[in-house]
């Protein structure tokens, strides 16, 4: 009886995951029996499911709680990221509708796979154990591999899916190997236990350290940080645009959350060790992301390098390893997801007059004449990603730099700002193409009112008006970071 009660309490705490898991199976059955014509109702059904799951987020107590014998953690940190994940997944679902109908791949599996991926991400951010983490990560990744190859008639999409799968499987293997090393040297996979055991000194910790390096490498692949970034441009370019939008948003945030949880929650005792690794990865990502994007002629590839670059900036906060730094990372990811989803919404609107999607920079030329609204939104996202005040995108960068200066990481901060100047160059190039160049053939008019509304909302959020969101957002991020420490 007592066992049943604890089980109930655990399931209750994990309501979000429970609802998602049960709901997605029901929706899958509906899809199987009704076929592809159920795409639209299924999409809105899954959005409703995500909203329903979101309503259950407040179940988690403010001070945090664990379930399933410590395998699962519900706290302010996981709640914050689950809001991002659920919202990001819902938006990615809706924005794909016109594309799915257009590209004749209107298969009903799209919303199902996306929801499964979201379920995996929720598990990732709530993981209290290396194995829960691994299971969540695999669920997320396997759904993502299929999504990358979703446009199966197009070789580019299949190639992206295959590339993502092979490299992703390798990264998972590295991660798992790291987990086994850590288990071997410490005898546990629980974060709480590890936090008490690992102190960064002694012989046994050397093995743990090697395990940690493997774990961090595996996660670095998921957040596409240098030197594990190679898949990003290819997959973004090859995957259908809505899928790339999804990849760039919620999964990045979830993987970053997982990184924070592992680094601070489990291996907080070895902070001095992983700080060096994170610093290196951060600098390398910022520089490579900034330089790599310069020569790109494809907007999606450019956004891929932009995401590498931004992950580098976010990692500055983790390198600081202070509460301010973690707050900065959490805040950064929230704003980043909106900026990147907005940018991809703008890319989705890039279709020639006969409705064919295009992705080249050249096709954007002079967009400000034919579609002033779209061009303005695009420009807002670019200036925001470049981190030019007073746009909202400046403030996350500001907060991680502030954390770095407070932690006396001056070199990291200086490299960071210099990289931001280099990266400004290619963001400016997009704006230059939009505003200064002679007009290219006009795009097809906007086809989806929903997408236009989403695009407008994202643009307003990233504009100076969004600065009004700083206070509540940073306060929530601060609570999330505090629950981690």
């Amino acid at each position: 009886m007592i066992a049943l009660q604890t089980l109930y309490a655990s399931v209750h705490l994990a309501s979000v995951e429970t609802i998602l898991a049960a709901g997605v199976l029901v929706l899958l059955m509906i899809g199987v029996f009704r076929g592809d014509r159920s795409l639209v109702p299924l999409t809105w059904g899954t959005v409703a499911l995500l909203v329903l799951a979101g309503i259950h987020l407040p179940i988690v107590p403010a001070h945090g709680a664990t379930a399933f014998g410590g395998l699962y953690i519900g706290d302010a940190f996981s709640t914050f990221f689950k809001v991002i994940i659920l919202a990001g997944a819902a938006v990615s679902m809706v924005l794909a509708l016109p594309y799915l109908r257009e590209a004749a791949t209107g298969r009903f599996e799209y919303p199902i796979l996306l929801t499964l991926s979201a379920l995996g991400m929720c598990l990732m951010v709530s993981a209290g154990d290396l194995l829960t983490l691994y299971v969540g990560l695999e669920l997320q990744s396997l759904a993502a591999y299929v999504l990358a190859a979703f446009h199966r008639n197009e070789p580019r999409s299949s190639e992206a899916g295959l590339k993502y799968f092979v490299l992703g499987a390798l990264a998972s293997g590295i991660l798992l190997y790291g987990i086994s090393l850590v288990y071997g040297f410490t005898g546990t996979t629980s974060f709480t236990a590890l936090h008490g055991l690992v102190r960064g000194t002694g012989l046994a910790d050397l093995g743990t350290l090697i395990g940690l390096v493997f774990i961090l490498s595996g996660i670095a692949f998921k957040v596409s940080a240098v030197p594990f970034h190679m898949w990003t441009p290819d997959v973004y370019e090859g995957a259908p645009t809505p899928v790339a939008a999804f990849f760039a948003g919620a999964p990045k945030a979830a993987a970053m959350a997982m990184l924070l949880r592992v680094a601070v929650g489990a291996f907080g005792g070895m902070a001095a060790d992983w700080q060096q690794i994170v610093t290196f990865v951060s600098i390398a990502s910022m520089l490579l992301g900034a330089v790599g994007a310069i020569g790109q002629g494809n907007v999606k590839r450019l956004l891929a390098y932009s995401s590498i670059n931004n992950v580098g900036f976010a990692l500055i906060g983790l390198a600081a390893a202070t509460r301010e730094g973690l707050t900065g990372v959490v805040f950064y990811m929230a704003v980043y997801v909106v900026m990147t989803l907005g940018s991809f919404l703008a890319v989705l609107a890039m279709r020639t007059a006969d409705g064919r999607p295009v992705e080249t920079m050249a096709s954007l030329a002079g967009l400000s004449r034919s579609r002033p609204g779209l061009a303005a939104a695009f420009a807002v996202f670019m200036f925001s990603l470049a981190g030019i005040p007073p746009l909202l995108g400046f403030w996350p960068k500001f907060s991680v730099f502030q954390a770095a200066i407070d932690a006396h990481l001056y070199t990291l901060a200086i490299v960071g700002v210099l990289a931001s100047v280099v990266s400004a160059f290619y963001y400016l190039r997009v704006i230059m193409t939009l505003y200064f160049a002679e007009p290219a053939p006009a795009f097809a008019p906007a086809e989806s009112r929903t997408n236009t509304v989403l695009l407008g909302a994202a643009a307003i959020f990233c504009s100076p008006v969004g600065m009004l969101a700083i206070t509540p957002l940073v306060a929530a991020a601060g609570r999330a970071a505090a629950s981690l420490l």
Partner: protein, 512 residues
């Protein structure tokens, strides 16, 4: 009236107008007309507000006035505004130039008028914000935000090499600013406040000051611009439309000088004194070198751009001699240069609109065909040279007075610049206005229109006012300059300890 948040209205009104201009419905012509009228009315209103501000300003007080504070963006920054006399004068200058810029673009801009006017209105918000900000990061936000509209103005409505120029402008200034940002973050992390007034009295560790000073210097020197980081300016000026050049020369260049006055001098007095050689060398090289470069230019706008660099060198030289004449002279130089170089660019714009070339060689003998134009151009040329009776004289005289008591050698270098300045301006004037010409297109050029007269006349009157009765402009500067000198004084000139004759102490009496 007293309850009205005057500064907030002043700062936010243009951006609201910009949104209206962009979003107004109607056909292309109707929107363009609406944009022009709205922009003119709003900038005129802004000037009126600035005059109200000037009239109700308490000149005697060195304190920041019209202070408003709302903690809107905690924990990063707050909406905190307030002005002292220096900021007040620069705000008056900016709002004065703005309607004239709009008028100058009335006909010459025919493409994408609503966007153009919106960019200018946004520009005005950001410039006024820089001068009115009382929060360190609010200042940075406005300071760097100004890059966006200027980038668009140069890039969309500029000349042939506009894309190169817009990039160069943006990236140069951004590179300088980000280093300043790090210094600001450091300052806040040490002083635990973003309030500029509190930071003004905070004593930073003298060991760290040089680094902070250099970071700020990187930003302001680029913005100013000082030799050797001035190269973006001629490119930006040449490619920008006339009104863009006016705003660039008239107001944006003042941001660097304002930054030195507001931050570098009072916040890092030790470093300012230690690194004064750097500023002095840069200033003298700038004034001589850029004057010589100006002498050989064949493009009118480029010539005036180089003359701007030379004049800005006067500002830096005057600021860093740490005496009243120098600092007040520098600020008057900023005001005067804002008017005069703005007017000179407008003069170039007048003939550019007629002939569409900036080549000096294409003109000549304008005195015969455009006598009114020749008169105004002469007056601003003389003001640029620093003829007594014009604003330029007051500025140059005060700066030279200041530098002379600081360092004779510095004064010698700066005076060389004045002589060279007379040379290149007179040479320019002779080639454009005097002589005779047989070029049919030059002969066919009509004299100033009513609109152009309405633009140039107010500036001419202001230049004369400042030249004949500078007290109106110097009075508000006095108290804030005093405050800066009070910060600098303990460092710049160690107080002489008066020798007191002591009474002899008798041996054995010490114990009593």
């Amino acid at each position: 009236m007293t309850n009205l948040p005057l500064l907030s209205v002043l700062v936010l009104l243009p951006v609201i107008a910009a949104l209206w201009v962009l979003l107004a419905p109607g056909g292309e012509d109707a929107r363009a007309a609406n944009a022009r009228v709205t922009a003119l009315v709003v900038t005129g209103l802004e000037f009126a507000l600035a005059v109200v501000l000037w009239l109700s300003f308490d000149i005697a007080s060195p304190d920041f006035q019209f202070v408003e504070r709302v903690d809107l963006f905690a924990p990063f920054l707050s909406w905190h505004l307030g002005i002292d006399g220096i900021a007040l004068m620069l705000i008056v200058l900016s709002t004065f130039l703005m309607p004239l810029c709009i008028l100058a673009s009335w006909q010459s801009i025919s493409r994408r008028v609503p966007e153009y006017m919106a960019a200018f209105l946004l520009m005005e918000t950001l410039m006024l914000g820089v001068f009115a900000a009382q929060d360190l990061f609010l200042f940075y936000l406005f300071f760097e935000g100004g890059l966006i509209p200027m980038y668009l103005i140069i890039g969309i409505w500029g000349g042939a090499r506009r894309i190169y120029a817009s990039y160069k402008f943006f990236l140069y200034t951004l590179l300088g600013s980000v280093l300043m940002l790090l210094a600001m973050i450091y300052m806040v992390s040490v002083a635990h406040t973003t309030d500029i007034r509190a930071l003004l009295t905070f004593d930073f560790d003298p060991a760290v000051q040089p680094w902070l000073w250099l970071a700020f210097f990187a930003s302001f020197a680029v913005k100013m611009p000082m030799w050797p980081v001035h190269t973006w300016l001629p490119d930006a000026h040449v490619e920008a439309p006339t009104a863009g050049s006016v705003i660039l020369a008239g107001v944006l260049l003042k941001l660097g000088g304002y930054g030195f006055v507001r931050f570098s001098l009072p916040m890092f007095p030790e470093a300012s004194v230690d690194l004064v050689w750097l500023v002095a060398v840069f200033s003298v090289v700038a004034v001589v070198y850029t004057s010589l470069v100006a002498l050989v230019q064949s493009d009118m706008k480029k010539l005036i751009a180089y003359s701007s660099v030379a004049h800005m060198a006067f500002v830096t030289a005057g600021l860093f001699v740490f005496n009243r004449q120098g600092i007040e002279g520098s600020i008057v130089m900023m005001l005067s240069h804002g008017l005069v170089s703005g007017a000179l660019f407008l003069c170039v714009g007048v003939i550019y609109d007629r002939l569409h070339t900036r080549e000096i060689a294409a003109y000549g003998g304008l005195a015969n065909t455009m006598p009114r134009y020749a008169l105004f151009f002469l007056m601003f040329t003389m003001a640029s040279i620093g003829l007594p009776g014009t604003s330029g004289f007051v500025a140059e005289f005060l700066v030279l007075l200041g530098t002379f008591s600081g360092s004779t050698w510095l004064a010698l270098g700066m005076t060389t610049g004045i002589i060279l300045g007379a040379a290149y301006m007179l040479y320019l004037y002779r080639r454009v206005v005097f002589g005779t010409t047989d070029k049919p297109d030059v002969l066919a050029m009509p004299d100033l229109s009513g609109r152009e007269l309405a633009i140039l006349l107010p500036i001419a009157l202001a230049v004369l006012w400042m030249g004949i009765y500078p007290e109106s402009f110097l009075a508000p500067l006095r108290a804030p300059t005093g405050a800066i000198l009070a910060r600098l004084h303990p460092v710049a000139a160690p107080p002489q300890v008066p020798v007191k004759p002591g009474r002899p102490v008798l041996p054995g009496s010490a114990g009593r």
